[in-house]
Amino acid sequence: MATYLEFIQQNEERDGVRFSWNVWPSSRLEATRMVVPLACILTPLKERPDLPPVQYEPVLCSRPTCKAILNPLCQVDYRAKLWACNFCFQRNQFPPAYAGISEVNQPAELMPQFSTVEYVIQRGAQSPLIFLYVVDTCLEEDDLQALKESLQMSLSLLPPDALVGLITFGRMVQVHELSCEGISKSYVFRGTKDLTAKQIQDMLGLTKPAVPVHPARPAQPQEHPSISSRFLQPIHKIDMNLTDLLGELQRDPWPVPQGKRPLRSTGVALSIAVGLLEGTFPNTGARIMLFIGGPPTQGPGMVVGDELKVPIRSWHDIEKDNARFMKKATKHYEMLANRAAANGHCVDIYACALDQTGLLEMKCCTNLTGGHMVMGDSFNTSLFKQTFQRIFSKDFNGNFRMAFGATLEVKTSRELKVAGAIGPCVSLNVKGPCVSENELGVGGTSQWKICGLDPTSTLGIYFEVVNQHNAPIPQGGRGAIQFVTHYQHSSTQQRIRVTTIARNWADAQSQLKHIEAAFDQEAAAVLMARLGVFRAESEEGPDVLRWLDRQLIRLCQKFGQYTKEDPASFRLSDSFSLYPQFMFHLRRSPFLQVFNNSPDESSYYRHHFARQDLTQSLIMIQPILYSYSFHGPPEPVLLDSSSILADRILLMDTFFQIVIYLGETIAQWQKAGYQDMPEYENFKHLLQAPLDDAQEILHARFPMPRYINTEHGGSQARFLLSKVNPSQTHNNLYAWGQETGAPILTDDVSLQVFMDHLKKLAVSSAC
């Protein structure tokens, strides 16, 4: 076998799975001593251009408690046409369709290279995708105009048979009826009143066919969905109407007195959106897209009062328990999120405002339903426009990169149990033999609902080894895990993607080296970070940091090589070498540090961290820094203040921001206009190079990062300075006497100091 690195990469490409450990400690006790839990990063719908879906349904294990899906790991008796389930060892008959099966004539799902198979389910009615726009009208005129244009543009991107609906809100909430000629109709709700789903449906006339069947078409009773959905119409039918309607959309007309915020009924609007879909299209793929330009200021879910003199809550207020609306609002949105999730509808939030908009309270709407959260300064920015456009991007097959109403089921072999998942999902509360009693993340279930997901949506799934120490696993035994993702494809097909993986067991006492070598520090860092972030949502920041530190120290103690009490002797093997550095940057990251971030920003960052795949997550933890100079091709450099040199151009990618930083000299040259002189064309090229690279990143990234072009001494340089390791600060600058790099004015510890402490603690016998 090749190196573990290749193995890991191969696995990731094929199955979208990366484990923290690729050889598993064979007993519960040992597993817990490994510090980093046995867990994996799973990208359920990882794009697999080379994997055509099979057009039949999977074969299930007949044991009712198992129902695992036939996979390459199963033992097959071709003669008897039997197969043994590798999870429960049940022997199953092949269905009649498999009569022709033989060693040479295997169905795809039995071929080893098809550890991931996608089935297309032909049964059941296909329901169109649904897009429900929920639009804030309390916007500035140009913002609203920009938003209207974006929305109109999006109509052309939608699948033609998709159903669309429009809800607008400000002081009131209007549900627009889209099918009417000559007069535009809308149902209006008070923005201050919390309504139950039933009330909403009654008021919208959804509980019974309020519209009498037209005499012209009484013969089509099957068309019932359209009867009950005056508010959701096929885009091809009402394209023009809706475009006009959006065009005529006005700012909320109610006067906003001096010193007040506009009254914005986001809570009720969302509640109505959820209620509307709940009543008309339960368990159908649907996307509620909420566009907000400010915080909810009235009714249920209000985040801040309308008095401008009272600012919206900050972390400081929250710590002081001074955020009076937060709990109630959070509860409201959680309730909505859970209802939406239960019906398989996902909620996107597009918040564009200079101040906070209440994402902290609303985050669960996206986090629980797999919706997108986009935060920007204005709808009139390319950040929003392109991000929004990208939502409707298509894959190589011309399908939208979105899937709906997914259910992820995890099956494990009996030595393992599943402890939980962290990602854009909710628990389906399915108990089963493979559900652990200990919870990590969202646990207590073997199935999760992911209402909206795309090819990059990634979950962290945590397991527990339950095999007892005294029940050794036979040599060569492998543990297996099967991930079954049932989802609605954007083509409205129902599909099932099945990934079955297996890893070797190893005795941690005798084969620790194996296990060590099979450690995937990147995956481990992301998985631990997810755990940390997950905890940070409910715990105090310092506690989480302390927990992370402790875990890191324990890991170092476990796998480091050192002489007790001698920090200098401390060494980590290659497979662990980067891990402490990840942890260092993680500690400084906005996911765990709220300093300098508003609660909304924190929520926004955490949201994305909990759903991006491994590569992106790592970038978030430890931004990438490229250096451009005349000395050679662009090279990645250390994320360190020492990398900030006068004759370099730096390109930093933090996932959320792309920063291009011109060193002092470069900046001077640029100011002097050398790039415009023909003889300095190479300088022009140098300046251009990072821009081109940035564009490339910008194109691939969702959501669009904030693009920052700055230079030495520029105010925006702070984005760079706050990220780099402060190896040189005002404290040690002169002491070190170095000539290069830029000092960072901070009291934060540098990586060096951090490592020193770590070593000291790791080798100390005290802890």
Binding site: M172, C180, I183, S184, K185, P212, E248, P255
Partner: protein
Amino acid sequence: MNVNQSAPPVPPFGQPQPVYLGHHQSSYGGQLGSTTAPTSYGAYNGPVPSYQQTPPPGVSRAPPSAGAPPASTAQGPCGQTAYGQFGQGDVQNGPSSTVQMQRLPGYQPFGSAILAPVVSQPAVLQPYGPPPTSAQVTAQLAGMQISGAVAPASPPSGLGYGPPTSLASASGSFPNSGLYGSYPQGQAPPLGQAQGHPGAQPPQRSVPLQASSFTPPASGGPRMPSMTGPLLPGQSFGGPPVSQPNHVSSPAPQALPPGTQMTGPPGPPPPPMHSSQQPGYQLQQNGSFGPTRGPQSNYGSPYPGAAAFGSQPGPPQPLPPKRLDPDAIPSPIQVIEDDRNNRGSEPFVTGVRGQVPPLVTTNFLVKDQGNASPRYIRCTSYNIPCTSDMAKQAQVPLAAVIKPLARLPPEEASPYVVDHGESGPLRCNRCKAYMCPFMQFVEGGRRFQCCFCSCINDVPPQYFQHLDHTGKRVDAYDRPELSLGSYEFLATVDYCKNNKFPSPPAFIFMIDVSYNAIRSGLVRLLCEELKSLLDFLPREGGAEESAIRVGFVTYNKVLHFYNVKSSLAQPQMMVVSDVGDMFVPLLDGFLVNVNESQAVITSLLDQIPEMFADTRETETVFAPVIQAGMEALKAAECAGKLFLFHTSLPIAEAPGKLKNRDDRKLINTDKEKTLFQPQTGAYQTLAKECVAQGCCVDLFLFPNQYVDVATLSVVPQLTGGSVYKYACFQVENDQERFLSDLRRDVQKVVGFDAVMRVRTSTGIRAVDFFGAFYMNNTTDVELAGLDGDKTVTVEFKHDDRLNEENGALLQCALLYTSCAGQRRLRIHNLALNCCTQLADLYRNCETDTLINYMAKFAYRGVLNSPVKTVRDTLITQCAQILACYRKNCASPSSAGQLILPECMKLLPVYLNCVLKSDVLQPGAEVTTDDRAYVRQLVTSMDVAETNVFFYPRLLPLTKSPIENTTEPPAVRASEERLSNGDIYLLENGLNLFLWVGAGVQQGVVQSLFGVSSFSQITSGLSVLPVLDNLLSKKVQGLIDSLRAQRSRYMKLIVVKQEDKLETVFKHFLVEDKSLSGGASYVDFLCHMHKEIRQLLS
């Protein structure tokens, strides 16, 4: 008044018209009797004696009381005998004799007076006071000659009356008797004129008397004038020439079908009727009458006399039976005619305190010279008892019927608007009364004394003006507030809500679009009409376009608001389904200027019928609709009016949801009142909010079944709105009526967000209010909206002594927002006399106003008491009023005499009409909704409306020559008056019937209906074909003019004699016994007499 009295003040009053002053002082100040008398006396006396010498011996008052020999000969006996008869049903005029007697005397003077143009003028002035009093009608039940007839004469006779004094002496008993005496005399002449009346009664009158008396008059000039009047009705008028026989004969010649008619009323018809009635009557009354029996029996015996009477006429004789001759009892028609003739020609000048204005049925012009026109304020009495004891004794309610925004005929100028600048209207510091002509300036004009509370106030420098030698301000005539009874002030910002000048009001049209409304075609019709109607919103003065903004809402069980902003390409509809918690979904674009948004509105009105064409929604809401309109006005910060078009009982789940609780079994039980009470208190609460916002609600109902008008009308009622009801609305049949009402309702001038306060001078105080409004405290009448048709009736009570010198003052101040959004104060002032003698009170009463008050009082009573109690209360009160008169004012006479005050001689007949109205005595076909509807309608009716509503007008169409284009004189509302060869129109302000007798000539049928025979006329027809002939045009013209007189469009219904629709029609013949048990006029009169006698004994 006190103030006025003080030396200087006096002038102000009179100031406007020096003439008056003189009069005033002389007449008023002095003893009425004495002063007035003198002048006229002379004249009179002259005649009187002469008269006396003439045949009618009893001329001098004596006869009545003493049963003067002469008259007595006839009468004396008659009297008694008559009484007997009376008891049995006939009425005899004890007094009649007197009347007659007086007649003679009256005549001459009268004749002279009347004839002489000169006389008329002064007559008007002076006499007023007295003349009305003369109204004293003495009627003997027995003879049933109610002198009623007298009435007519009275007014004009004024001057002539002078002679009364002589009478006075005769009567002796009355202090005023002098006057009285005179009156009767005066009356006499009228009788002569009116002869019709008496004519009918002549029977009892001693033949000789009549003969004698009549003949002269007949020949005399006086009769002539009256004659013209009488001619038409053919009633008894024809009679004049020959007393009774005349009666009979006269019609014959004049009326087309003389014979028949004759037979009709007096002759044959009566007998059956009577006979049938009589028994019933007796039966009914026996119980109660029991005690009285004695007298009755007595009557009985004399009865024969009556027979004799009957015999006189000749034909009637066969029916000697004890029965009152309907012609002998006071006739409303006669009274109205006489008033018209006597007072219609001269303008009514308001300069003098306590003048009784002409009847509402009379067309007259008003000249404002210091008191509010009777079009604005009418009182039950223009002479108020000085003490509460007197008032209690008389039981005559003291009430004013106020119509602050009444429309005036084009000849009369609407009130001047006075602008006092930033300081606002000048008011008394203590009682806050507004500056008015009665305020007394003192100290050289530096101060003024309030005429209401006597407080001395400083005159602000900018208002200062010197006084002339009479103590009157030099500029008095330049300032409306110092010289007129009615005027307006521009209000300052202090008078505005929130201290902000109001924005122009808004109209919101709220249209029911449930299944019923769509199916009946209402929605389509309405939307079509609104398109053009919106161009005619009320505008102020010469404004080019109306300032009023409009908004639209449709609803079934949810509400649809419409954005019709002018910038929109198409209207936007906003549905609010949260009816439990109503709100207005839009701000901008809901209320718009009609011209700016014309295109969008038209588009909307085009689409509404289409949008809901297929609706199956049958449930509606109601309270949320009003709530929505109110909230919309609130959001727009303006007052306004909601026009609600509603079809069904609001049963959808929402606030104000109602259930069907119609239960006819409750009628005549103690629970009957619940039928009039609202089902839920929610509407009162809602109404209160509406009033606070100045949101007036007009409700148009189109029910197919029970909709609970009692509850639905609560809000319109409390917000000063109107309710219109079109049962079983069909576009084909009811379109005209609905559209006409709608147009009128939309176009009429309205005041918004009004507060009315009635201030009175010390001594009396407004204690009770009736009408469509809301009151938050005991003094301020709050009206979200007030239009020119709405009337508020105010009752006064004493809280102290009044004095005759000062009289009593009323000031009604109405603060309102005009339809252009201007805040104004309209002030009406009225000065009344005070009296220490009951007779003065009775002489200055106005029965029509009294009935207006009593009806409103009773109609409100049914909310809280069983209907029977209410009826009994009415009867008792009426009996007390009349008994008090009998006891204190009438000349002593046999207890068997029914003596009615001249001014109140119609009280019994009108009261009977009230008693048998649908609300108080429902017929089988009257629905609960109808009763509630009528009940609330009457609440804000003015005097003219109640008058015709309770006593419908019955106009014969074919009696007078076709060429005669004037309105034919009415006939009494009794079946007896219908001749089967004629066609009649009957109207009561709400309904209009065309009754076609079975014997109508074919030619008439042809020219009116365009069909060849009676049998081909469609019964129930609501439109007459337009035919090119004189008769048709005349009838059409008449119908049109009748409709123009009324505030609501009257749908025509053609009723054929003997058709089944006729029962409906007969319901309106109010002098007859009604199917639902209402007494006939005659029966009721007897009953009333009995009651009175009980009280007296």
